[in-house]
């Protein structure tokens, strides 16, 4: 197969939950263009929703003046989505795998999103530099089937 040039797409949008739908459509279109089947397009869309929801809620605490910065890289092997924020950051390694029984008791539901992202994507990498630049990179390979 001929090596496809890496293509880059960017979406910069206010950090607001009402924009999640626009983000999902943007991701859905690109994942479809990249050649993923419908099931995997849905997985990528959900993983990106979860990542952006985390930024909106935790990094930018619902301040709609902040911007979400989403970059998508496509080539003939994979789709990579990088979501960047300048919020306070967190330690992704300190988040336990959610224990649903425990969450039920304390009615706390955080951490489900990151668990989903890790399950839905082939690679999830965080790079945290609080207040300057935090980013999460989500990768899905065309040749692999996860989740």
């Amino acid at each position: 197969m001929k090596k496809m040039r890496k293509q880059k797409f960017k979406l910069k949008i206010s950090s607001a939950t009402e924009n999640l739908e626009i983000i999902r459509e943007f991701i859905n279109n690109l994942a479809t263009k990249a050649g993923f089947d419908e099931e995997r397009v849905d997985q990528i869309e959900l993983a990106v929703d979860e990542a952006c929801t985390n930024v909106i809620k935790h990094a930018y605490k619902y301040s709609t003046e902040r911007m979400l910065d989403i970059s998508v890289f496509l080539d003939n092997e994979k789709m990579e989505i990088v979501i960047m924020d300048k919020g306070g950051g967190f330690n992704p390694d300190k988040l336990p795998v959610p224990n649903l029984e425990k969450y039920m008791r304390v009615a706390k539901v955080g951490g489900l999103g990151i668990h989903l992202m890790r399950t839905l994507m082939d690679e999830v990498n965080f790079s945290i530099n609080p207040g300057k630049k935090n980013q999460v990179s989500l990768v899905k390979y065309l040749s692999r089937k996860s989740a």
């Binding site: 939950t17 929801t53 989903l116």
Partner: protein, 117 residues
């Protein structure tokens, strides 16, 4: 915009909420308010019918987690019905089938509450 809607059907001892559209961090307060409203009316036998639900993220699943303990303490339950395979997969990935009863159709969920059709 696609949005999110809830309609409600009351039966003898069970209330069903029918969700439609997209349940994400933006629309989730509508769902929370609906459940909260039932609790205020002392309704604890609840079916959530997802036949027309196109999408759910963990924000939506969080609502089930947030209310279920209180509801079960009151002797009630939330039972789920009519999940599309796309929506079911999300519940499944987070281990919900071990914690919630999931039915193919609303009538089966109703019978489980002891409701006679």
């Amino acid at each position: 915009m696609s949005g999110f809607d809830i309609s409600r059907s009351d039966f003898d001892n069970v209330t069903a909420l029918h969700l439609s559209g997209f349940l994400d961090a933006h629309t989730v307060p509508v769902f929370e308010d609906a459940i909260q409203g039932l609790l205020k009316e002392n309704i604890f036998n609840i079916i959530v019918n997802m036949q027309n639900l196109d999408y759910i993220s963990s924000a939506g699943l969080g609502v089930f987690m947030g209310f279920i303990e209180e509801i079960r303490e009151q002797g009630g339950d939330i039972k789920l019905s009519n999940l599309s395979s796309k929506v079911y997969k999300v519940f499944d990935l987070l281990g919900f089938p071990a914690l919630f009863e999931i039915f193919d159709d609303e009538n089966s969920a109703k019978s489980k509450f002891g409701h006679s059709k």
